[in-house]
Amino acid sequence: MVEAHSINAEHKDLIHDVAFDYYGERMATCSTDQFVKVWDQDEQGNWNLTASWKAHSGSVWKVTWAHPEFGQVIATCSFDRTAAIWEEIMGESNENGTLLRHWVRRANLVDSRTSVTDVKFGPKSFGLILATCSADGVMRIYEAPDAMNLAQWPLQHEVSLKVPSSCLTWNPLLSTFRTPNAMIAVGSDENSNTTNSKIFICEYNEVSRRWAKTESVASVAHPVHDMIFAPNMGRSFYLLAIATNNVRILKLKPIVDATSGFPYTIETAAQFNDHFCTVWRVAWNITGTVLASSGDDGCVRLWKSTVDTWKCVGVLKRDGKLPQPQSKKTQSTTQNNLTRFFKLGQITHPSEVHWH
C-alpha cells in the first residue's frame, strides 16, 4: 500500500528540481520563478513551508543539500550564470517561542560566463567541496578550506570539456579499493547529430594536484540529461545511471595494478528502452538497489537489480483526475498546512500478489 501526500509547491512557474536533505526530513524546491523554497516535515508527517526567497535573477535549475555535518547548507545554480551557497540562520525566537529561521547567501560563485546547469557537493570525506558545470562546457571545483567558514569558496580547478554540459555526479567511496581518487562524471546534452561522446570522466590527480578529463565514454552518443552514481554499500565497483535516449547503467570496475591510463574498465550493466523516448531524470534509492527513471512518456519507472538482471518493479503513471473531494476541503481550511492526503490503494510493491 502506498500513502501519498500532495503538497502545493506554490511556485509561480515550473519546478525544476526537488532535493531532500540527508535524512529526507527537509525538502528544497527551485523554479523558473527564481525562488527557492524549503519545506520541513513536522512530527505528524505534514510538510510545512519554512522559507521562500528569491535566490537568483533567472531560472533556478538545481538545488542540492550539503551533508548535515557541515550545517544546514544548500547550493543552487541558475540561468543567471551563477551558483550560490546558502546557510540557514536561526534568529531570536518570536513571541510564540519558535525560532525564526532564514537563509543567507554565504557565497556567490560568478566564474561561469553561461548558464550554470548543475551543482553538487562532493562526498563528505573530501571535505566541503562543490562542483558545478555550465552550458559552455566548463566543470569547476570550489572548496571551502575551512568547513566552519562558509564565506570562503575559492575556485580551485577548472576543466574545459568544450561541449555544453547538463549534469554531473561525484563518485561514492568504494569498499575494496584503497581510497579512490575523487572522480566526477559530466554529461552533455549537445543536440547535434555527431556521434561524439556525451559523457566525460574527470579525475583528481594526487601527484599533479589537478583535476583533468581522463576518459570519454564512447558508448553513449545521444544527449545526456541526467546522471548519477549509485550509493555504494559494499560494492567494489561503481554503477553509473544515465538518462539519455534510454536508461543506461554503466559499470566502472577498477583495474587492479593499473599503472597508466584510465584505471577503470567500463561496461554496460543494463539498458532499458521501456520509456520508448527521451529519459530526463534518474535517481537511486538509499542503498543503490532501486533506480527511478523519468521519461517523456509521462511515467516514472522503478528498476531493481535481482540476481544478474535488472527488472522493472513498478510504474508510476500520471493521471489528471482530481483527488477525492474531502481532501480538497482539508486544503482550503488549513491555510498554513498545504499537505493533502489521498489513498492510492494497493500498489507498487512488486511482491504484493494476492491470493486465496
Binding site: K12, I15, G24, R281, I286, V313, L316, R318, T348
Partner: protein, 656 residues
C-alpha cells in the same frame, strides 16, 4: 502456468499532471520514499518569461510505502521473531546448546498464531478489510510453514507420512470438528427425540468433513446421534467405522500386516456397499462410498475440500494410508490436476507443490515473493539453512559480490526493517549476522536514521559504539553539534564534540569561547568547562582553556605564587591561540599588587617581554580593526612589566 505479477502500476491522480506537456520527474528520498513532481522541458531560450499571475497548481507528491509488517498489530510479529532468530543464531554457534529445528519452527509458528489472534481481537466484526487481508496472508503462511515442518523437520520412522499430514490438515481446517461439537453438545435434540439431521442442516456435511480428515471416532459418534441410528444400515455403518484399523507408528502393526488388514476391512465394507445395505439413506451411502475408496466418490470429496491439498490428504486416507513421503509428489500432481478444471495455480499452490515435490530450493525461492516483505522467507530460509536442509544458492548476484549468498536475504530483510522508524532496532539484529557487507549497510543506515529525539540519538550511538562503528558516532555527534551551534547553543555543541571525540570541531568551539571571553571577560557555560574530560588531551585548544581557567581560579583565590607558575607555563608552551595572546599578556597586570611581592624571576620576565614583542609583530601583520583596543594596552603591559622588574630588583637588593 503460474500467475506472476512482474510489477504494479500506480496512477497518480493529481491535477498538476493534466497537461500533456507536463513531465513527471521522480526521485527517492529518505529511507524508502518516492517523490514526484511535475515539470516541463524547456530550452534555455524561453525560460525568462515568468508571468507573475500564473495560477497553475503545482503539486509535489510524496509516496510512502506501507506494508503489513509496519502495522502496529503486526509489529509484534517482527519484534518477537527477531528474538527467536537471535536465540537460534547464538545457539548454532554454541556447541553445548541444542539447535532443534523443529523446536524453533514451532516457536516461529506460535508467534504467527499469536499475531493472527491479535489481529482477530482488533477486528472482531471483520469489518476492517485490511485486517481481513492480513489475517488471510498470515493464515496461509502458517499453513504452508506447517506443511514444510511436517514434511521436512519432523522425523517419521518408515516415512509413513499420512498421520502427520492429517494433523496438519486438522489444525488448519477445523470447521468440521467445530460443527461436530455443536451437534454433539446439543443435549436438547438428544433428550427431546428431535431429529438431529433435520435440526442441523450441516449434519451430513460435518460427517463427510470428519471422514475426510480421518476423524472416524467423532464421525461414528455423530452417526449414533442420528434419528435412524438403530436401523440396519446405521448399525452396519457404525460397526464398519468401529472396526477400521488405525495405523500407528509406535507399537502398532508392521506396515505389511496393517496393509492387509486395511484391505480386508475395506473389502468387507465394499461388499456391504455393493449389496445395497446403505441405499435407504443416500447420504450414508455416499459416506460409505468414500470409506470404500470408491472412484465415484471423487467429485463428492472434491466438493467438500476447499483446497487441493485437503483433497489430496482426504483421498489418501482411503486409498493409500501408508503412503511414503517420496510418492507424495505423484499423488500431489494428480490431485491438483483433478481438483482444478483449468490449470490456474496461484502462488500458494505452487509453494505447496514444491514442498510435496521435495524441491525445497524452489520453494525457498518462491517464498521470497510472498507479500510479507520477506518475513517468512528470511526466517524459514535461515532455519532450513541452519539445519542443513538446503544448500545456499549458487547463482549469486553480481551486483553484490563479496557477499555470502546465505546472507542476501538477511541483508534485504534487515535493510527493510531499518527503514522503519520504530522497527530499525530489530533490523540491526539481522544485519549483525551479515559479516562485512552487513556492517557497511549498518553504518550507512544507522547514520541515516533521523535524529529528531535525544532518546533515539542515544540509542543510535549505543548501537554504533557496540559495533565499533566510530564513523557513525562521530558523524551523528557532529550533525547534532552543528544543529546546536545553529541555535547558538555553544555549550550543547561542545557536549556533542566531546561525545564524538571531534577535536577539530572542539577547536572551533573553543575559539568561540575564547573570543567571547576576550570581549566580555567571562566564560559562558562554566559547568561544562569545569568538566571537560578527555577532550583536554585530544584538543590543544581545550588544553589551553583548561589551564587558563585554572589560572584564573588561582589568581581569584589569591594564590598568586601558583598562578605565576602556571602563567609562565602557558607562555612557555605557546599553545595560546594567536588572537588571544594579547589578552593573556594583559593578565600580567594581575601580579602587581600593593604587597610588593614579585612572583617572577628575571628569565620569566624576559619570556613575557619576548612574547609581547612577538604578539605586537603578529598583530601589526594582519590589520584587523578589533585588535586596536588590545594594541592600545601594550603600553599598560610594558609599564606592568617595568614595575615587576623594579620590584624584583628592590627585593634582590634587600636580600643582598
Amino acid at each position: 502456468m503460474s500467475k506472476t505479477i512482474v510489477y504494479d502500476t500506480l496512477s497518480i491522480p493529481d491535477p498538476s499532471f493534466i497537461d500533456d506537456e507536463v513531465r513527471m520527474f521522480g526521485s527517492s528520498f529518505g529511507m524508502s520514499n518516492i517523490c514526484i513532481f511535475p515539470t516541463k522541458i524547456s530550452g534555455p531560450s524561453n525560460n525568462q518569461n515568468s508571468s507573475g499571475d500564473d495560477k497553475t497548481e503545482r503539486n509535489i507528491i510524496l509516496l510512502k510505502h506501507k506494508t503489513m509488517l509496519f502495522d502496529p498489530k503486526v509489529r509484534q510479529l517482527v519484534n518477537e521473531s527477531s528474538g527467536v532468530f537471535q536465540e537460534l543464531q547464538t545457539n548454532v554457534d554454541d556447541p553445548t546448546k541444542s539447535t532443534d529445528a523443529l523446536y524453533y519452527s514451532r516457536k516461529y509458528r506460535a508467534i504467527l498464531s499469536t499475531c493472527i489472534l491479535a489481529i482477530d481481537q482488533n477486528n472482531l466484526d471483520k469489518s476492517n478489510e485490511i485486517y481481513n487481508q492480513y489475517k488471510m496472508l498470515l493464515y496461509n503462511l502458517q499453513l504452508i510453514w506447517h506443511l514444510c515442518e511436517v514434511l521436512y523437520l519432523v522425523t517419521v520412522p518408515g516415512d509413513t507420512i499420512l498421520n502427520n499430514l492429517l494433523d496438519w490438515i486438522k489444525i488448519h481446517y477445523e470447521n468440521a470438528e467445530n460443527q461436530a461439537s455443536v451437534i454433539t453438545e446439543n443435549k436438547i435434540a438428544y433428550l427431546t427425540d428431535e431429529h438431529v439431521e433435520e435440526k442441523f442442516t450441516f449434519y451430513w456435511d460435518t460427517v463427510i468433513g470428519l471422514v475426510l480428515q480421518g476423524n472416524i471416532d467423532t464421525a461414528r459418534m455423530l452417526l449414533s446421534n442420528h434419528s435412524q441410528s438403530d436401523t440396519e444400515p446405521f448399525i452396519h455403518a457404525i460397526r464398519i467405522f468401529k472396526s477400521m484399523p488405525i495405523y500407528s507408528i509406535y507399537g502398532g502393526l508392521p506396515i505389511a500386516e496393517y496393509t492387509s488388514r486395511f484391505k480386508g476391512w475395506q473389502s468387507s465394507a465394499k461388499s456391504k456397499l455393493e449389496c445395497g445395505i446403505f441405499l435407504s439413506d443416500s447420504n450414508l451411502n455416499d459416506v460409505m462410498k468414500i470409506i470404500c475408496g470408491d472412484p465415484d466418490s471423487t467429485s463428492l470429496i472434491r466438493s467438500h475440500c476447499s483446497t487441493w491439498f485437503q483433497f489430496l490428504v482426504a483421498q489418501l486416507i482411503y486409498t493409500d494410508p501408508t503412503v511414503k513421503k517420496h510418492s507424495l509428489s505423484l499423488y500431489a500432481h494428480r490431485s491438483v490436476a483433478k481438483y482444478y478444471e483449468e490449470s490456474e495455480y496461484n502462488h500458494m499452490d505452487t509453494l505447496a507443490l514444491d514442498l510435496f515435490d521435495g524441491d525445497l530450493e524452489g520453494f525457498v525461492k518462491k517464498l521470497k515473493s510472498y507479500p510479507d516483505s520477506g518475513w517468512s522467507s528470511t526466517h524459514l530460509t535461515n532455519l532450513l539453512h541452519l539445519c542443513d536442509k538446503i544448500e545456499p544458492e549458487v547463482d549469486m548476484s553480481e551486483v553484490v559480490e563479496n557477499t555470502n549468498p546465505n546472507e542476501q536475504y538477511l541483508l534485504d530483510y534487515g535493510t527493510f526493517l531499518m527503514t522503519h522508524h520504530s522497527l530499525w532496532q530489530a533490523g540491526v539484529i539481522y544485519l549483525d549476522y551479515c559479516s562485512a557487507i552487513g556492517k557497511g549497510h549498518l553504518s550507512m543506515l544507522l547514520s541515516k536514521l533521523e535524529i529528531t529525539s535525544d532518546l533515539r540519538v542515544s540509542k543510535i550511538l549505543h548501537y554504533a559504539t557496540a559495533r565499533r562503528l566510530h564513523n557513525v558516532v562521530s558523524s551523528v555527534c557532529k550533525v547534532k553539534g552543528m544543529l546546536s551551534l545553529q541555535k547558538s547553543r555553544i555549550g550543547e555543541a561542545l557536549c556533542w564534540a566531546i561525545r564524538g571525540q571531534d577535536s577539530a570541531f572542539a577547536t572551533h568551539l573553543g575559539d568561540l569561547y575564547l573570543k567571547e571571553f576576550a570581549k566580555s571577560g567571562s566564560f559562558g557555560c562554566p559547568d561544562i568547562l569545569d568538566n571537560l574530560g578527555s577532550i583536554v588531551v585530544t584538543c590543544d585548544r581545550f588544553m589551553f582553556i583548561g589551564k587558563y581557567i585554572q589560572f584564573l581560579k588561582l589568581s581569584m583565590d589569591n594564590k598568586l605564587n601558583e598562578a605565576a607558575l602556571l602563567y609562565i607555563e602557558l607562555l612557555k608552551s605557546n599553545i595560546c591561540p594567536k588572537y588571544f595572546r594579547m589578552t593573556l599578556l594583559m593578565d600580567v597586570l594581575m601580579f602587581i599588587d600593593n604587597s610588593n611581592e614579585c612572583y617572577f624571576n628575571i628569565a620569566d620576565m624576559s619570556l613575557i617581554t619576548m612574547r609581547l614583542d612577538d604578539a605586537i609583530i603578529e598583530y601589526n601583520e594582519d590589520d584587523e580593526s578589533d585588535n586596536q583596543f588590545l594594541l592600545s594596552q601594550v603600553l599598560n603591559i610594558r609599564q606592568g612589566i617595568a614595575k615587576l622588574v623594579s620590584i624584583s630588583l628592590r627585593k634582590k637588593k634587600t636580600i643582598m
